[in-house]
Symmetry: D3
Subunit: 297 residues, 6 copies
């Protein structure tokens, strides 16, 4: 789902942003002939994501760089573990370093947080899904990281599934239609392949929505008791999505109410970067230097 | 420093990402003739940033949208405060809503965190600066947010200032040159307008670096005592930058050692989005709906 | 669903293709100060589509052009009817003419053909839908034209709904799983908002597919009798899509079998351009000239 | 004339359109390790075009795909003939399939129709040429297909040759100049390498145009008798182009009037896609499946 | 021929190049509210070109800038003459200044040099034309400047006219064909609108080329005597182009040999920028400052 | 500093400009199977630059072309010297020829002129630097050529260093501040890595500027005596840049005044292209043809 074309386009733009007319330091300090080899190493435990993206950063700076992967996307990783090895011209390796790490740290951070949520609900049958609260320009990358962590994706964009919320319903019913009629009418205007999800805030809204035969009902900011009541009332007639107030502390209890899907904005908008470093050896002569652990203004 | 052209390009790409072939829900549910008006409202206290970017999102979807700003970039804001008002075709307002909020929340989050660091060092003379640890594709936006929060920017990219780190020095001295000679030689290869910053890990490295007359010396992961000793040794012959282990708890003490600049990667890589919402009224008929506070998968 | 940004991007590229360094003829022959006014006129009966796109072509060549629409997308039009009027600098009007007509003719052709299919099945409850057999680069435009003609869209791309075909099923079952098991497993890997459609070639495949609870079943190249049998067997448990061998002659009978959806590749891959012309007056002095009816190599 | 850069750009954009964030079905159903091999097979007789473009689609999705051509552009092909063979990762082959077929079918359709016109005028000395009535964004591709079919191209765009039509002449002569004077004046403003073609509607316009020494005269919608008279009057002093009312039924008679060039808008705006299919074998285990013959919404 | 779209694209890219993340100086020094007004003034005599491009630079930085033209493209200008006046936010005016001047100086330099050549051949009937030796990325701009100076354009690119040179002829005749046969064969493969020009190095090559009825013959590096002989031999059967060794000193004599066209690579590859300056007043308070005359590293 | 990505992007755009839909001549005249080999040869003495760019032009047209470099960037070259050899399909070699030469000639011209200035100041300790007066879109290329010639770069753009000129100072001091106060205030608003350069027109301005501790002081259009006085007064407290009235005749004397940096706009805005040619052999059968020495409209 993360295409090669998307990787090349977005990672290439990040390189252009970070070194629009080259890496002054590398050019002034490193001989053109110097070679480097570097290990991508995890400093902590977590879930890896972004291996293919990491590799692309080096290849886009200089096709002579080669990257050998040592961990698959979605793998559990531990401190000190080598995740990939890159070799190539030292200038190119140094120039690509920060962008490569940036993507790998961000994607692994999302995968790691997702995996925590997934483990927290293990055995309940509920799936953890992301939201549209992703970083502008990086949605496909952050979605791939959620999958690497064992989570699932929600709709990709406003263009590929429908989510009817309260202010939509307000408009729909303003002219006198009932909620049920309004939803039936909306469905009739949509492609038959379009998933129709409706957000409800209170239990008493459920019957009108169910009568319209929608695909998913989002129970927004419901108490645990109300979630249980909602699941029961819906009775398998729609996918049930819980949303709002979801944390690592609350997610298990929410999952145990029987909901099918729990959407967690935090997966993408609040995941901390995972601490990965690049242990670099230039020319075979220098000591390994943990460049990512050092500040890199 | 954040150009109109950059805003249009990047916000436009975010809109294409979030609604590549339009907003299915708005198109199915909202009449083409419906109008909306919406207030951007702060749910919490903080520092605002991103007003111009917020406005651009709506204009890029439909030039008929108009946005009236009510708070300047860098303004302290309080819960419930209206920061901007947008009016326009309801479909366009709904389509642009998430992208507009996304930028404003992210930028205000960075400005707010920066302002906390800036207040923490108030009166010490130290400035808080960002790093290259920004989101790929959004550096200019995140840098503008740091400035809105009262912070300063570090070099923008690898192309506009030099930062010599330990692995660079390893290469420079591998052929037998001293550190001083190596730095003098590097300087001689650089444009005269290029700022030369050198990172040191230990006090005993300082003299060799000072002998080379560099512009800034970064004291990396120094204890408070060593920072004080470093500041004294440098004695105004270079800008002194502290880096590593900087948190809201430690930053005041670091600043009081007399360093000039404190670089904080967290400003951009760890700022939480600020909770801003869009209170939306469609057609004048519906109740205000706090759409940003609701989950938006 | 056809965004302003998409129109500007694609129509702009078409103008660059058709006049990369301007219109030599207009520049050599028409004074810069000459004005033109032109009516977009239908030469035949049909269904109009592309009004906004037609207007954009002129504005993109020269913002001084103004286009006044006289027919809405989806309107039934008759020979001689004026659909829009453009006025502006004569050079700009001449330069944009072919591209503007090209889009309007193509989109109206698709809308007209679609409307014929839609009328043919009127009252049966079946909807006419398009396919992915669109012109490369113009999908959003051709999809909008289908909607203008009263048809519906199928999935937009490979990224927003799943269509399992026989060769997919072959792979799924190669390792020993039954079709039902394979489909259940595939569903489990998909986002909950993803519509799952399965293509079947024979009636005896239906039970295995139905057991997996898919969203749509496509009955591919079924006889009318088999379609009827299929509809009965499915019994409302999935949307039923008929496909293959659909023509204006056969579509009514297919619709009367009770299927929900009839997909017609011809809507986009075989619609003839609708004969629209631009009746042009330059400077108020010349006679109207039906330029579109003349050959335009 | 169809450059590698143009192929990569336009086919790449088509792939982005058809699978912006990947092929959901292939990803959910086909193992990453599965391999596929597929034959591009003609279902009918015709003239092939688009081999290089077909190959590019697969390579752009995944460079590990290899395509072996088995028929040259312009080759006469017969039902069942294998035109090319692709092998590679099954997911990539499936993802690129529709775009690759789309271009090959469209280009072969144009080549096939062109070849019919070319055969119809064989021996007369007239050449069949295309017009600017091409699909927006695909002109270079459709022009290449015309050449593959034995036809010739007309001017590529408004920027590379001049075509003076009646409304241009109206402007030119409005200020009192004669047609001859106006054309001489226009010629004097043009680059010496610019071909000057003038469209005439009636025989009595010829002398004034001939007096201006133009390069090509287009006889627009002339009867066969008038065409013969026109050819005779022009007497080799300009290329003679016939245009208007050209069909496969009329073209031979038109050619036999002695005109040099016959322009046919239908070559590009009305050619039906040629029925080519992709016979696909995944993993060596499944039966060949004629996927292109099946509906592909 | 220089389209608005081309201007916006290329001038926009130049602005991005010159101020990728804004104008640090203006941002640090000039209040956001300051206004500026500036006159584009000629320091020398010459021929003006680039007025529309100059204006676009300011509008692309900030649409609030307004530019009032005071001289038309192609106008003879004298020292001290005001060519245009810009007013707007001071920061925007300063940011766009160098790019705007850069285009105007370059285009006016080309127009001025061209005008000198054109005056030198006045009355001879020969036209001065440019070549493909233009600055990469700026061909349309430099061609427009040549026209502003009274010159004419040669073919725009390799795609819109044919120029057969000696190494082409070597290949054409290698298989045994005569030059005449080879040229006739080449013509038969070209679109009828394609101008066929052939370069010859010696008088004795002329007959073979003339026998093939080509459109233009370029006499390359001919002496004046040979040019005269060539013109006589060709006798109006083709356009005669002289090329090679053309300077302001030699061009009159070359023109008097009777050639039709004289191509001068120097027009674009050797024109010096014309000295234009921007006399700037900020806020109404400061003295005019001739910023373009000052060095602007 | 000239990245591979920048080369591919800009050279690719130049190829698109010069052959948007291919090379008509090569396609009509050269068999697809013909091979060519060509030497890039210097016709004159000078300094080479652009080897990597020259090679990229051929590879971007057809990856089957291979280029073997025979001279390094910055090498002194003499008439007749072979600088690189390209082999590949004859059509591709011919199509890329002009663009490849164009870049190599332009870059070598700049390197050659720069080297002359550099030799002129040899032994004085002054460095020769470029300015922002580069060709729009080609700054990175022209800057690389300056370095190849032994010169140095000034700031790359308005975004990476500050240059305060008289009209800036006018604004800064308009509100009552002294020049010193104004510069101190400006510095306080800038990133610590930003180089602050101030332009002065008269000796009596120096003290106020020196009091503000700026990084570089540009002495603009100073007499030699005033330059000497300025260098003495500054006394090592800032880099001293001389600017204005710099020619090959005056530069030595300027350098001997003791200034550190001499900026020369002419390096990029007035360098003549170096005369390099491509000696081409097609198919092994034809004689070498010096195509670059011939006119190439």
């Amino acid at each position: 789902m993360l295409t090669r074309r998307e990787i090349d386009r977005t990672v290439g733009a990040a390189l252009d942003e970070d070194a629009p007319w080259g890496d002054l330091t590398a050019d002034a300090v490193i001989p053109a002939s110097a070679r480097a080899s570097a290990d991508l190493v995890s400093r902590v435990s977590g879930t890896f994501s972004g291996g293919e993206v990491f590799a692309a950063a080096f290849a886009l700076v200089d096709p002579e760089c080669t990257v050998t992967p040592a961990a698959a996307d979605g793998a559990a990783i531990s401190p000190g573990q080598v995740l990939a090895t890159v070799t190539g011209p030292a200038r190119a390796v140094l120039t690509a370093e920060r962008v490569a790490l940036n993507f790998a740290q961000r994607m692994s951070g999302i995968a790691t947080l997702t995996a925590r949520y997934v483990r927290a609900v293990e055995g309940t049958g509920a799936r953890i899904v992301d939201t549209r609260k992703t970083t502008p320009g990086l949605r496909a990358f952050e979605r791939a990281a959620v999958r690497a962590g064992g989570g699932f994706n929600h709709r990709f964009s406003l263009s590929d599934a429908v989510m009817v919320k309260d202010n939509h319903l307000g408009v729909l019913t303003a002219a006198g239609a009932t909620v049920t009629e309004a939803l039936v009418a909306a469905r009739a205007r949509l492609p038959h392949t379009t998933h129709l999800e409706v957000e409800v805030d209170r239990l008493d809204q459920l019957d009108a929505v169910l009568a319209a035969r929608v695909d998913t009902i989002m129970l927004d900011n419901f108490s645990l008791d109300d979630l249980r009541a909602g699941v029961e009332r819906i009775g398998g007639r729609a996918v049930v999505e819980a949303s709002g107030g979801v944390t690592l502390e609350t997610v298990r209890a929410i999952a145990e109410t029987g909901v099918d899907v729990i959407s967690v904005g935090a997966l993408t908008h609040s995941a901390a970067a995972l601490d990965l470093g690049l242990d670099l050896v230039i020319d075979g002569g220098a000591e390994p230097a943990a460049s990512a652990a050092s500040p890199t203004p």
